[in-house]
Symmetry: C2
Subunit: 151 residues, 2 copies
């Protein structure tokens, strides 16, 4: 699939990704390195916590979403370059065995006011588990290259 320039995006378009199954070992390995709190690394402690069972770090969930997006069908020209998030929520914990995928909707498309070769798209990413329950949602502004002028 070829890359999409700013001109190829339109409000309302939807894109999707493949799927990733997260397991107990992945959850504990990520948490040991980046979020070493009991409810992310120890099943027994997790049972007694607010999560009532082992749950992936929200940052692990977000990182898995990024990996799925990189291999998904959005494919903005220049790569997936986030300028910032307008919001992010984790409405439900991610558990060992969950099968995750991301759906993207284009909310806004606009050329850059200052850089003629660039533009911005605002997208809404929703990560769903195998029961189609949302586990992550985020509104992201991405930098996208404009289609080069023809000679």
């Amino acid at each position: 699939m070829t890359e999409r320039y700013l001109e190829d995006f339109a409000v309302g378009q939807r894109f999707s990704t493949g799927r990733h199954i997260v397991d107990d070992a992945q959850i504990k390995a990520f948490a040991a390195e980046f979020d070493p709190q009991p409810f992310h690394v120890d099943a027994t402690a997790a049972e007694r916590s607010i999560f009532r069972g082992l749950a992936a770090s929200g940052w692990h969930t977000a990182a898995i979403a990024m990996r799925l997006l990189v291999h998904g069908d959005l494919r903005p020209a220049g790569g997936i370059v986030g300028l910032g998030l307008e919001d992010m929520q984790w409405p439900r914990p991610v558990r060992p065995g969950d099968e995750l995928r991301v759906e993207t909707e284009i909310l806004q498309v606009r050329p850059s006011a200052s850089k003629p070769s660039q533009g911005l798209i605002k997208v809404r990413n929703t990560m769903l588990n195998q029961k189609d329950e949302a586990v992550l949602s985020q509104t992201v502004n991405l930098l996208v290259l404009r289609r080069p002028a023809k000679d």
Copy 2:
């Protein structure tokens, strides 16, 4: 240091973390697993990209911030449990060799309307490099336990 309950937080308080030096190998390892785009895994490709040199994935930067916060002096009772982000920006790339730390300011403290044992604090986290330049900023809502009633 003991944990802080909701009643121990007040608007305007500031907290800090230790420091973490991110190197070339860490940047490439995280990106290979979660954000395998050329500007995060290949120095030559990165030179030709919008980043003009190897840069950490924004999700790696956010994950390092989380690790620093877990070991920092914020220490909310019940752990650092994020309900969501109101915004997040990456104003500058993180480069190999950067020394990172996080500063936190308490923006809001309020009891939960529905759960008497819980409350929310809104915090602003700013991650700075060794030149005191911001590389990440985020506004986060955290769940914090209230101090148990005395018998």
